[in-house]
């Protein structure tokens, strides 16, 4: 089984040359192209984060000037949110695996899929141009009236970048939704769909309904900054809190765009490596939809101290507690899936254990911020920073790497070293906790966010945090090393290295351009491990 010869014709070697990549309509190649651009953005975001962490090792702002620090954390936010977290799982793993998992030749609109990638790159280019010209210093939230009247950094350029990149997310959501509705293989009913596909469907719903609102909000911001249209300008009677309402109407559901696909990956990987169907399949599937729909009702928990009325704060707090329930249901179902399974400790599962550990803390600290009494004290402090990093880095990025490791053999036809991947998971888990757990304590102590210089008594915890960040950086670099190494020296993976169920494991790896020699027929439920012996391809 350890031959290094790869199947003759696959989507990677069927055509060669740059043009074959830049003009491809193959969803698998587009997924790889997204991986390249997102990795660059992740690397950039990481550099900005390193700058922030180095600055915060000392109470006085002596590493960089205040203005540079503000631009560092803003660019870290913009690069990570809009160009890493939102596209990562849907655009890379979703693009690659969705058609394979439902037995289709490609997504519904291949040309528009390529167009989405180009729009994403153009948006990224505008944001890069803004970074090169000096960056933007308004925070990734662009709150007015600072961003429109008082900031003299490239707010407009970054706004255009984010505006354009938003359409890439919209078109990907549209493409996936139509693909799941219309392109399923015969016999693939809704309740035989893998849970990753359910998660992608819920994510597309959020992308379709949320992203246009931030597009128009950034558009209004650009109108106000460039042409003087005073929509949010308090001097004309405009309301800065209205900007916050419109911004968070998208940006909270956006965090569900970031976390739902990784949740789908976790369901896949846990089922595969416990050799068992997921516990409560329909509950996990419907909780994805519930998160997507409820996600649109809770945005004003970001505004509890921003000037909304006490009664509406109460309503949003109640709804924010309600939206936490489906996530809890998912976590309990994953744990129950492990019960009486045959748990095969392989690298993707290590990343899933990391995900569960960190997402648990991230999700539960959300309850602190949803409760009104605490949020007045905790809002805009490092408690919030720690909470969303636990969800985003602990949840979304860990989930992304779990998926990347799980489908890497299918993408490249090669296996990576299991020991290295497990070590990387451990490094990232330890480094992450050391970086962000002290920030919960700093948060309750009252250290505000986005501070270039802080009071002395917070220093020790910040030094701990910066130390953790360096371990985290090592962990991430290690991933890049052994994955790239596996491209050249990795042994051939064969069609089903993890012995998993699911249509994507029935075709060769890497798959042929049209995915399946002939369209597969599906006649059993999603994770039927126990009844059938698994043929080792």
């Amino acid at each position: 089984m350890t031959t290094t010869v790869l199947p003759r014709v696959n989507y990677l070697n069927v055509r060669h040359g740059v043009a074959s990549w830049l003009l491809t309509k193959d969803h698998k190649r587009i997924g790889i192209m997204y991986l390249v651009v997102v990795t660059i953005a992740f690397f950039l975001g990481g550099i900005f984060a390193t700058g922030v962490r180095i600055e915060l090792t000392t109470p006085q702002g002596d590493f960089v000037s205040a203005d540079t620090y503000n631009r560092l954390f803003t660019m870290h936010g913009v690069a990570m949110v809009f160009f890493v977290l939102i596209p990562s799982v849907p655009a890379i793993l979703g693009n690659f695996a969705l058609p394979l998992m439902i037995g289709a030749k490609d997504v519904a609109f291949p040309k528009i899929n390529l167009l989405s990638w180009y729009i994403f790159v153009i948006g990224f280019f505008f944001t890069l141009a803004a970074m090169v010209l000096g960056g933007v210093d308004t925070g990734w939230t662009f709150y007015t009236p600072y961003s429109t009247v008082y900031s003299n950094s490239n707010v407009l350029m970054t706004g255009i970048g984010v505006f354009i990149a938003g359409f890439s997310s919209i078109l990907t959501g549209l493409n996936f939704m139509v693909t799941i509705h219309r392109m399923r293989a015969p016999g693939m009913t809704w309740f035989r769909l893998p849970l990753f596909v359910w998660a992608l469907y819920a994510t597309s719903l959020v992308q379709i309904l949320g992203t246009p609102v931030i597009a128009i909000t950034v558009g209004m911001l650009a109108l106000e900054r460039a042409l003087g249209f005073g929509i949010f300008d308090p001097r004309l009677g405009g309301d800065p809190v209205l900007f916050q309402h419109l911004f968070w109407f998208y940006s909270h559901p956006a965090v569900y765009i970031m976390i739902l696909p990784p949740m789908g990956v976790i369901s896949e990987v846990i089922a595969c490596f416990s050799r068992k169907n997921v516990f409560g399949y329909s509950f996990v599937a419907f909780s994805s939809l519930a998160i997507a729909v409820f996600g649109f009702l809770v945005w004003a928990h970001h505004l509890f101290v921003a000037g909304i009325s006490p009664y509406s704060a109460m309503v949003f707090s109640f709804l924010s507690f309600a939206v936490a329930i489906p996530s809890a249901v998912k976590t309990f179902n994953w744990t129950a899936t492990l019960y009486q399974g045959a748990i095969w400790w392989r690298a993707p599962l290590m990343w899933v254990f990391g995900f569960i550990g960190l997402f648990l803390i991230g999700g539960l600290t959300g309850l602190f911020l949803a409760s009104l009494g605490l949020d007045v004290h905790l809002h805009d402090t490092y408690f919030v920073v720690a909470h969303f990093h636990y969800i985003m880095v602990g949840g979304a990025i860990m989930g992304f790497f779990a998926g990347l490791h799980y489908w890497w053999p299918k993408m490249t036809g090669r296996m990576f070293s299991n020991a290295a991947a497990t070590l990387a998971a451990l490094l990232v888990f330890v480094g992450f906790n050391l970086t962000f757990f002290p920030q919960f304590i700093l948060g309750y102590l009252g250290m505000p966010r986005r501070y270039h210089a802080y009071s002395e008594e917070f220093q020790v915890l910040n030094v701990l945090s910066s130390a953790g960040a360096s371990i985290l950086a090592v962990g991430y670099t290690l991933i890049a090393c052994y994955l790239v190494y596996s491209l050249f020296k990795g042994e051939a993976a064969g069609a089903n290295p993890w012995r998993a169920t699911g249509l994507e494991w029935k075709t060769q790896s890497p798959p042929i351009p049209d995915n399946f020699p002939e369209t597969p027929i599906v006649n059993e439920a999603a994770y039927k491990y126990s009844e059938r012996e698994i043929e080792v391809a």
């Binding site: 490609d106 528009i112 139509v178 106000e224 929509i231």
Partner: protein, 239 residues
């Protein structure tokens, strides 16, 4: 045949004369679909989802309009009286008529009346163009009166600031709508050219149907914009 016309291209698959796929298939069938019906259903579903994003896109601006109307009723009635109701009403009639001709054009494509398809589409484009011309004159009149929000905005009366807010939203909403009209106009131009080249048939007329859906959506937006912007407090005009 240009693929997508504007940034948010419409998901109608382009049909080139050569056609993909094995012989015997309809030339417009793309390789990754099994049947033409599946492709058409996918395209129409894609367009409907795209229209959902457009509804939410205008939703943000309408939210700002709604809030400031609740907060500043006086400025809203003053601002609304600045707009010329005759041009607004005329534009509404023109756009609803263009919706009719568009629907008849789609019907002609469905029934294979190729000549009539081209004629109805041309009439729709003409009506769309009329709308844009009327809009141009309205904007020019605002420009001459210095009513375009921004540094040289002049408006006497106590509510100058809030009236500037109203006019900012007026230009935001109608400007965005006009932009969608321009995109729709160029889309129709492409479709009319394809109809002229006899590309459609009763089995395959998806591009005409999709551009029809898009055009009707733009008409619906104006159906809401007209009362919201022009008819805020007309009764005041007569005291």
């Amino acid at each position: 045949m240009p693929d997508g016309v504007a940034a948010h291209a419409d998901p109608h698959g382009p049909a080139s004369a050569t056609g993909f796929g094995a012989a015997g298939h309809h030339p417009a069938l793309q390789h990754h679909f099994q049947t033409l019906a599946q492709q058409q259903e996918a395209a129409t579903l894609g367009m409907w989802i795209f229209l959902v994003t457009e509804v939410m896109f205008f939703g943000g601006l309408l939210m700002a309009y709604l809030l400031y109307r609740v907060w500043y009723p006086a400025a809203w009635s003053e601002g609304s009286l600045e707009l010329d109701i005759r041009l607004g009403a005329f534009n509404t009639v023109v756009l609803i008529a263009s919706s009719l001709t568009m629907a008849l054009g789609v019907r002609a494509a469905q029934t294979g009346a190729q000549k009539w398809t081209v004629r109805w589409l041309l009439i729709t484009m003409a009506l769309g163009f009329t709308f844009l011309v009327v809009k141009f004159f309205e904007y020019r009149e605002k420009y001459l009166l210095h009513h375009i929000p921004g540094p040289n905005f002049e408006f006497e009366g106590p509510h100058a600031g809030q009236v500037e807010l109203f006019l900012s939203l007026y230009f935001g909403l109608t400007g965005l709508h006009a932009l969608h009209m321009v995109v729709g106009f160029s889309l129709l131009a492409v479709i009319t050219w394809m109809a002229h080249r006899r590309r459609f048939s009763p089995e395959w007329y998806t591009p005409v149907e999709l551009s029809g859906l898009y055009w009707h959506f733009v008409d619906i937006v104006w159906i809401f914009l007209f009362p919201l912007l022009y008819l805020v407090d007309r009764a005041r005009q007569f005291g």
